[in-house]
């Protein structure tokens, strides 16, 4: 690789983005300036560089002017780098030899009132991109050995739906379930909102499909002990009850370990009176039609959620309460059902219809104010519930036969262990976190996906679609054979490395190991490209490709412009 050789043939394409850039930045002045930057042999503007004709013009210029590096001064590389990379590839240039100058999101859009300063800033941004482009090295994405098999951890609804979707595409799935039966939390549920379909009927059908599918190998009463490796090849160890440890290799991993329902010891008298139960307990009662002697039911919403300890909304509780209230009313018209709520979140078409229907069926909704929660007194003939209603500005009191607490879903016990094992970050509450809000099915470790309530609270429908989503995501990447992290990876100069091991300790990807000579070696297929090793190496023996010391220092220098560049 010719990392330090400064390329002399750079082409710069300035995009007007209609008026989004051109309406603020003085594009002709910018072009005139750009043509004077050392190394620039070609500079043109375009109304929309990312349009088909715009991209063709870039390809033509690369060929006709023998360009070695390309700078596109346009929008953000976060959305458009791949578009321009493909233009380079078409023109026969390595795709990593393009650098973008973000003169839209980080210039014209944020300095709309200052066109002169924005133009000056655009000049700097393009100069910074040119000096970096001249130092860029080509890079071929390595081919990664791809095992077509997939590991799915968790046999609940999301795990089963992702397994089925992958199996239908012809992939072999190892489905690992810790219990003796498939189904997860759905096994405890009565009917599913908003369809009111019997949970057991739905589940039975699904479990049967999984069981009958020759592409799905179910490991029952089993636990994943370890997963090592990287996308395309993960070594998995599974421990099953009363059996020997099993080991196999897969190319992708799906985490569908679900969540638990909060048992709110001490809250609203829970645990002190068996008539104070959770919605999950009520589901069990409804399932067994065990509601004799129940005359008054009070449900309390946001029990243990949207509080200091758990500030999040658990999403499912309003629907669950409305659904169960309605089922109670349908079973017996004499049962009075009160739902005591803070804010009723009936989002979307089905859910708001459920609210209307429940109201029509005589379910009573009573609001309480934040800071004035209902007071539950256990232990009497009935459970007394007092609540101040801001609507009628009065305190109301109910003698309840059962009090149902609508408690949130909370991360399951095993989440931290899986998080560590698969290098997946958890959010503030302990649920698995995606890489970015706008990439909901991508996760920090390539080739590993999370779905269902392990990600965040959601209902059966949402868990199913997320399961299908990660299923196709895991299949989609399989069609390509290449690693997608790009050209940012660490390389260690073994002549300079003293074997101190600091990089090994700091690397969050476990991508660095010592070789037989005691010298550090980085594995590009594991490296995530963060660069902590290069910034910390005492011998400065590590090159962080695509973000090298030389490139970053040249960019810094280009912002000052004190020294003339050669």
């Amino acid at each position: 690789m010719s990392g330090n050789v400064s390329s002399q043939r750079v082409g710069v394409f300035v995009c007007r983005c209609g008026k989004d850039i051109g309406g603020v930045v003085d594009v002709p002045a910018l072009l005139e300036y750009v043509r004077g930057i050392p190394g620039v042999v070609f500079a043109e503007e375009d109304a929309f560089a990312c349009s088909t004709t715009g991209l063709e013009r870039i390809e033509d210029a690369i060929r006709s002017s023998n360009l070695e590096r390309v700078v596109v001064a346009a929008c953000t590389p976060r959305t458009h780098e791949a578009v321009f990379q493909s233009a380079l590839e078409k023109a026969g240039l390595n795709k990593y030899l393009v650098e973008m100058a973000n003169i839209r999101e980080q210039c014209s859009w944020v300095h709309r009132e200052k066109p002169m300063e924005a133009t000056e800033k655009a000049k700097d941004l393009v100069r910074m991109a040119v000096v970096k482009a001249r130092l860029l090295s080509p890079w071929e994405d390595p081919e990664v050995k791809q095992n077509p098999n997939v590991l799915v951890i968790g046999g609940g609804i999301s795990g089963m739906s992702s397994s089925l979707s992958l199996a239908s595409l012809g992939f072999h799935v190892h489905l690992v379930e810790r219990e003796a039966e498939l189904g997860g939390m759905l096994r405890s549920l009565h009917k599913l909102s908003p369809t009111m379909r019997d949970s057991s009927e739905f589940l039975e059908h699904m479990v049967k499909s999984v069981g009958n599918n020759p592409n799905i190998e179910v490991h029952m009463s089993s636990k994943v002990k370890s997963v090592t490796g990287a996308i395309g090849s993960f070594d998995v160890e599974v421990e099953s009850e009363g059996a020997e440890k099993e080991a196999f290799n897969v190319g992708r991993v799906i985490v569908a370990i679900g969540s638990d329902i909060l048992k709110p010891q001490g809250l609203y008298g829970y645990g002190r009176d068996e008539r104070i139960i959770t919605q999950l307990d009520l589901e069990e009662m409804l399932k067994n039609s065990d509601i004799s002697g129940v005359g008054t039911v009070v449900m309390i919403q946001c029990a243990g959620s949207r509080c200091d300890e758990r500030p999040y909304c658990s999403r499912i509780c309003c629907n669950t309460a409305l659904k169960n209230a309605q089922i109670l009313r349908e079973l017996n018209r004499d049962i009075d059902v009160y739902i005591v709520y803070r804010d009723l979140q009936t989002y979307g078409i089905e859910s708001s219809a459920l609210e209307l229907k429940a109201k029509k069926n005589g379910v009573k909704l009573i609001r309480y104010q934040d800071g004035k929660p209902p007071v539950v007194t256990p232990g009497g003939d009935c459970v007394a519930v007092r609540v101040f209603s801001p609507t009628i500005n009065e305190e109301m009191e109910f003698d309840a036969d059962i009090v149902v607490l609508s408690t949130p879903l909370v991360p399951t016990e095993g989440a931290p262990e899986i998080s560590e094992m698969l290098r997946l970050p958890l959010d503030d509450f302990g649920f698995f976190r995606e890489t970015h809000q706008l990439s909901p099915l991508d996760f920090a470790t390539e080739g590993v996906y999370v779905c269902g309530t392990a990600r965040s609270p959601k209902d059966a429908v949402e868990s199913t679609s997320e399961g299908l989503g990660v299923g196709s995501k895991a299949a989609e990447n399989r069609l390509g054979r290449r690693r997608g992290r790009g050209a940012a990876f660490a390389e260690i100069n073994d002549k300079k490395c003293s074997g101190c091991g600091i990089c090994i300790e700091l690397c969050p990807y476990n991508a660095i190991r010592k070789d037989e000579f005691g010298v550090s070696r980085a594995d590009a297929s594991l490296c995530g490209g963060c660069g902590v090793c290069a910034a910390s190496c005492p011998e400065r023996a590590i090159t962080m490709h695509h973000f090298t010391d030389d490139q970053l220092e040249a960019q810094i220098l280009a912002t000052v412009g004190r020294r003339p560049e050669k």
């Binding site: 980080q106 700091l506 963060c530 902590v532 970053l552």
Partner: protein
């Protein structure tokens, strides 16, 4: 000359800092045009020597915008960014250069307004500090030398090893299993910063002009006994060698170091 406008650079991590800067643009939130951003995949890439290099080139202020703790896409909590930030500020202080010109800000990818406010208030702060004394065509030579010495010290094995091992030394102890308190380690780093800064400064001075210990002492204001210790250490490292003898005093010169 019109009113002084500071020139700043900012390091943005790809997934939070850079994303939030894009979001500020998408939301058309306006902020001053004095700052130029550099994209890095993660702010842990930012090397103290780069920061000190930027200052010695005359940049008025540097801002590092990284993800909020716990929000990092690069898996681990990133205490390393803060460790290096604190370390860099120590060297800036040693060089006599306002450490306030370096800022570290935390952000989530969704906080466009907060980002613009952070940029805005940092530019204001740097404007308040005035032009960097090493900016422009006639930089303060003493300060420039100090900043270059600080940069060289940050490239030095000893300091980098100490900073790189900081977390482990406090939590797990050294190879002999001796745990160290944060205070003890801070003291060791403080001492090492002082020593390495001075040694690199001496080396830089000698690279321009060979000098005697006495001359170096006059140039740096350090007692000649300590200067001699440093010169001995520098000779052991092969950074400095005997150049000749002037009167009765040996004169030293800096060696080319790869």
């Amino acid at each position: 000359m019109t009113e002084y406008e500071p020139r700043l650079i900012g390091f943005l991590c790809n997934c939070c800092g850079y994303a939030v800067a894009d979001l500020a643009g998408i939301s058309r939130i306006q902020y001053p045009p004095n700052i130029r951003f550099l994209r890095v995949m993660c702010c842990r890439r930012v090397d103290p020597s780069m920061l000190l290099g930027a200052f010695s080139e005359g940049i008025d202020g540097v801002m590092i915008t990284t993800c909020s703790l716990g929000g990092c896409n690069y898996i681990r909590n990133h205490g390393e960014v803060e460790t290096k930030y604190i370390f860099t500020r120590k060297l800036m202080e040693k060089a006599g250069f306002e450490p306030e010109r370096l800022a570290l800000e935390y952000i989530f990818a969704s906080e466009g307004h907060k980002f613009a406010e952070q940029v805005d208030s940092f530019i204001d702060k740097v404007r308040g500090l005035g032009r960097s004394p090493v900016s422009g065509d006639s930089p303060d030579p003493g300060l420039l030398l100090n900043l270059r010495a600080a940069k060289a010290a940050a490239e030095n094995y000893r300091l980098r090893a100490l900073v790189g091992k900081e977390e482990k030394l406090v939590t797990e102890g050294n190879v002999y299993g001796e745990e160290m308190t944060q205070e003890e380690l801070d003291r060791i780093i403080e001492e090492a910063v002082e020593t390495e800064f001075t040694r690199n400064k001496i080396r830089l001075i000698l690279s321009v002009k060979p000098m005697s210990v006495k001359g170096l002492s006059a140039e740096t204001g350090i007692d000649s006994r300590f200067v001699l210790d440093h010169v001995v250490a520098l000779r052991q490292r092969g950074w400095v060698d005997l150049h000749g003898v002037q009167g009765s005093s040996p004169v030293y010169r800096a060696m080319e170091v790869q």
